[in-house]
Every structure is written in C-alpha cells, then in structure tokens.
Symmetry: none
Subunit: 422 residues, 2 copies
Amino acid sequence: MADEKTKVMRMAAPKKKILFVVMDGLGDRGCKALGGKTPLEHTSTPNLDWFAANGSSGIMDIIAPGVGPGSDTAHLSLLGYDPHKVYTGRGPFEAAGIGLIGKRGDVAFRCNFSTVNDKFDVVDRRAGRVKSPETTELIKALSGIVIDGIEVLVKEGTEHRAALLLRGKGLDPDVTDTDPHDVAKVLTSKGRTKGAELTASVVNKFVRLSYEKMKDHPVNVERRKKGLPEANILLTRGAGSFPDILPFTEKNKMSAACVAGVGMIKGICGICGLDVIDVPNECTGGLDTNMIKKADTALNALKKYDFVLMNVKAPDLSGHDGKAEEKCSTIKKLDEMAGHLRKNLTNDVVIAFTADHCTPCEIGDHTGDPVPLTVYTESIVSDAAVKFSESGCAVGRIGRIRGHDLLQICLDLANRSEKFGA
Amino acid sequence: MADEKTKVMRMAAPKKKILFVVMDGLGDRGCKALGGKTPLEHTSTPNLDWFAANGSSGIMDIIAPGVGPGSDTAHLSLLGYDPHKVYTGRGPFEAAGIGLIGKRGDVAFRCNFSTVNDKFDVVDRRAGRVKSPETTELIKALSGIVIDGIEVLVKEGTEHRAALLLRGKGLDPDVTDTDPHDVAKVLTSKGRTKGAELTASVVNKFVRLSYEKMKDHPVNVERRKKGLPEANILLTRGAGSFPDILPFTEKNKMSAACVAGVGMIKGICGICGLDVIDVPNECTGGLDTNMIKKADTALNALKKYDFVLMNVKAPDLSGHDGKAEEKCSTIKKLDEMAGHLRKNLTNDVVIAFTADHCTPCEIGDHTGDPVPLTVYTESIVSDAAVKFSESGCAVGRIGRIRGHDLLQICLDLANRSEKFGA
C-alpha cells in the first residue's frame, strides 16, 4: 500500500455501507447423491440468482488456490488481513472464540479437561466429554491465580474444551504441550528456546495447580459417585501469542460489527476489533437456526454500523456430516434469507454473498476449492453470471480473486477507498 | 524476474512493435442516465468491438483489486513499473509533468504562486489564480539561483501552479511544507530528520528570496494597479525525491515514445525515459481534441519507435464532470479513432486498447474498478469477447490481470520477451 503522503481520500461520492453474508462451508464439489451436481447447482435459488444476475460475480480463493482454510484463517482473510502474518496459532484464536480475548504479548493455549490418576497417567483425555455447567463450576476454582508474577486466566469452552491465557512480562509461546495427545503420562512443558523457559515453568505449575484445585472439587466428588471420569486436570496444547492486529475499524476508518452464532467467529471478529452483536436465541448456529431473524439482526446492525459481517454456520454442518440432501435444504433456507435481504436492503449498501471455504459433502472437511461470490449494489456493472453457484459465478466479471481482495473491492464500491497517486 | 544467466533471447520470430492506446478514465459503472448501463455498454462501438472480437480481451486491476490509481501511478504501472517502489510522491511527478524532469537525488516540490502581506500572512493562496504569461515572466526572475551550493530550478505550471527542483549534495525530501494550506502565516520548513535540515534551510531561503525577487516585479506592479492580488511569493509543498527509475528503453531493450496532450502523462513518460512527442495543436487534451490527428501522430511515431504509448484524456474529463451522455459522445469519437487505427495499422504491431483507471460519471473521481482491455495483433488467439466494455471484455481469455502484466504480455506477443530457462 501507498504511504499516507501518496494517498488521497475520495470525498465526492456518498459513502455506502457494506454487508458480508458469509455462508459457512457453502461451496462444494459434485455429489453422486445429486447426480454429479453441487448442492448449490442442484437447488433452485431464485433470490441468490437475482443477485448474481444483477451484480458482479466471480470465484474466490480465500487464502490461495488449493489451500483449504480453517474458519479462523478464512475470516481473517475476508476481513482483509493476511493470515500468514496475523494467525499466530490456534491457542489465541480458540481462546478468543470462547470470549477470552487477549492483547498483544499474551500467550494462549487450547486446553482439555482430562482425567488423570495419581501418577499423572492420562486415563481419559476428554474426561468423559464433561461439559457445562460442570466445567463452568470447575473453572471458578481456578480464578484469580498468579504464578511467578504471571496472571492466569482460564475459561471453559464447548464440552471438555477450555482455554488458558497467560499475561505478564517475559512470556514466549515457543513451549511444548503438556497434553500427551494419547493415553500416556502428562508431559512436562519445555521451552524450545532459552527465552521460553519461564513460560514452560508457569505452564507446568498451572497444570499441577489445576489438579490440586480440581481433584476433590464437589463436581468431581459427584462424578466419582456416579462412576464418571473425573475432570481433575487441565492439559495444554497449541501455544500462541496474541497477534498485534491493527483494529479493523482503525485500518478501514469505519465502524464494524459481526453477527454470528458460533463462538470462534465471534472470537476472530473480536480480536480484529469488530463489535460482536448478540443474536436472538433462535439463531442457534445449527441447522434449526432462524435465518430470517439473523438477517434482521444484520439489517438492524447496518443502521448503526458501516460494516457488518454476518456468518451463517448451517451449510458447513451438512458438509462435515456428508449430507448432500440436507445441505440442499439448508440452501433453500439461505435463499429465502437472501430474498428477505433483497426486500429489506436500503440502496446505500454493498452486499457480498460468499462462503469462508468449501466443505464438500463427499469429503466431510474443508477443501481449497474456490468459493462462489456475488457482489451487488446499485450501479454495479452486471455480467454474464445468472446463477449463484460454484460454476455459475465463475463466468462473472470478478474473475478469480483472493479472499483478502474482497474487502478492498467492496470498500471501493462503497466509495470508501483511497486513491493512490494523483 | 529471471536473472541474466537464465534468460535466453528468442531469436527466430521477427520482432513486432507495440502501441498502447490508453483511454484515460474510460471505465465506468452503471449510470442511471443510461438505463443502468456504462457509457461503453451504452454506445455502439463497431471498431473497438472488431478488435475485441478478433483479439484477446480481459479486465485489468491497474494497481490491485479495489485500489483506485492516480493517472501517475497508473501510467507507471502500465509501463511495467511497480508504483509502490518508484512513486516517490507528487512533487517530482508534478515537476516532471510540467517539463522539469530531474534525476536521481534531486528533490522536487509542488508550488503555488501566492499573495502575502509584508508580515508574511498569506492573503490569497492562489494569487487570484494568476497564470501564464504572467507566471512565465515572474519565473524568469528566479532563474540561475544557487543557495548554499544547491542549484535551484523553478518552472511555472497551469494557472497559479509551479514546481521547484533542488539539485546538489546532501538533499533529503523529509521536510515540512511552507504552504500553510490556508489563509495563515507562511510556515517555516523543518527537517523531520537531522539529515533533512539543509534541505529545509534551502527551502526557507528560497521562499524568502522568491518574495524579494517578485514583490516589486513589473508583473506585480501592473497587478497592483489593476487591483489584482500580487503573485509575490512561491510556497512549497509535497516534497519528494526523484526516483531511481531504470529507463524503459534500457529495461525493455527497445526505443519508446509517448504521444499525449496532458503534462502529467508527458512527465511520467519522460521520467521513465520515453521520448515525448509533440502533438499537433488540434490534440488539445480536451473534449474538442482531434483524435484522428493524435492517432496519426502515434502511427507516425511507430515508424521510428518500437513502443508508443498514446494517451487520450477526453473520457476522463466527462467522468470527473459526471456527464454520462458526453462520455458516450467521446466514446463515439474514440471508436472512430479505433477505426482509423484499424485501417492504417501495419501488421507488425501489437495494439492494446485500455484505460488507466475508471472515472465513473456518478462518482466523479477515479475508482478501483478493473478497466476493460483488448489486445490485438495478427495471429493472436481470439476468444468469446465480442464487445469492448467493462462486462464484454470480462468474458475474454485474458481473464483478470494486473496493470504491470500488460507490458510483459505485449512484449511476448511482439516476440520481444526473454525465455526463462532453456
């Protein structure tokens, strides 16, 4: 990018707002169950197609051609960041995903509640898939801990998962896991470099302390009674530093919010400085989610914010479960949501329909296939695309772009970009 | 790029010449006045369409997707340079634009003729929009100045504008403006770093000297009599070093010239080492320009030069003025020019029709939308594109490329590229 001296703000045209509709895992490959078509190709989607026919379409490599992104790196890219620079490992992003949003220099870990015997052999890595409210109770026993001057924050996640965040001077994420990733002895964390020895030592003391504080906790007394594996230790893995991310709002000079049901997406957006908007209870992040309510939440948010990222998780679930027909049903609901947006959008909005990655039903996981993309706003140049799908969008004039290009393109369409030169 | 050892010149095929027809600001968005079409889509352009139908087409991000370029950075990119590396700010490029083409190490500034009172309060930043021949007379009083061993060159531009170029040892562009950009006291230039203090000092002495030499100049005596604001000082802003650009001719091993009516384009091409060809008076750089004469000038230049860049400014003017119908009329004339080129081109030429950026009529300024592109030469592979427009070119086989790719593509089609490897 140009430096400040060579940039000139475009002032004349009125600024528009921007709405990203990220349909999680929407892209797919041909499915035998659908006669070789993708779920999008197979399903009638008159509303999404209206946007394709009247907007500009293309396909998008979220990271790079053939690189399958996680939802975390994908959303970083969609928000205009280079995940190769700001994605510092799963620890900080999972921590953020469950609401433990750290700051630069903090080191975060993914944790499991596990079951160990008194010789520190792991008996059950997931403590019988213990979950809240038990984990919530257990975590309370670990609040307010300080070890060797390092502040310790812990928070429970879904099921047996949790996150640990260390805050203080001299921390370094280059430490090994205490989780043996198997039924084996708890490992001693080691610093891979001299500078990481303090961190490793704090981690080892924390793991030991979690055992001391939880082994006879009422929750575990109760579990013992019921013959359930006790959640008597927290084991760490995936250490990473919180990245130094220039807040989205500052970087792009606009207010921004996210509307999402899934913790990880909220976490990513939170790390990037977006406001995280509470969604109604009907927006479950599951297949039964109420997409119209979610769309209304996004439309409402657009009254206050310049930029809104809305994530709908449902299509990803069917992809992971390998259920092509189910994904088609979800797509019908997505199309109704698109129709609702079409009816209620004001004409000062640039809207982009896309996905964060493909989750092909016959693969059951994320792939590096490009995702379909349609961008629409009043006065956009329309093109040859008439069907919103993996193949349909490919004939559009956007061509094939990268994930991080989308925001810049929308900023420009929203009359919010800066001119480089004179 | 490959290094010298791994490059092999292709010798067999005869070398062709290259003509870039840069239709300034041509690209647009849908216009309400044109029923939602762009001016190019709305206008019948049989000659441009002939090139699209018989050539290869695509769309081009001059800098990057969604980044709106200035005409300066855009032409650098079209000439195959990376503007992020060689664009050193407006001073040197504006200086070059009015014919003050410096060399590496020179520091250049944009200047205004302004009016100050004897307390150095700025009374009129533009000295009543004074212009040539008065500014030309005033500049003569500032010729041959040397300050502390630094050579001072000044030249008048359009209206109240001028450029200052400093040449000598120890110069550094990191200095603040003397122009207060407001009705306020003249500022003292300061070096932002220790190394820039000499430059700041020379600038301050020059500004003071410009006042001494101009305040009682006959031009100002006359203006005083007429009650007009006196052009009694030159105020500086936008300091920048002349970049170290490897001349185009050397870089691409071919002779090169530009045919343009606008000073800034001539300046850019001059900085890059192209010969700047005088255009006939009828080629005004305005709406009334004689495009056929300009095309003839380019065709003539092709007899002597291997590469010619021709810039036609007119479409940009209608874009900035927001006049969609006028832009359509200009496009009709551009199409007649394309017809004239088609009739008179020899078949040893690779011709590219494109724009340096979009200037949508409803925006009135440059945007980052991709520009249409058609490349034609005998034996080129033709494609699905049949209409030269923002949407029409998008279906072509060139796909979506960057501005700096175009030259390399044309060099290759002209049998002038070097093989990388064996």
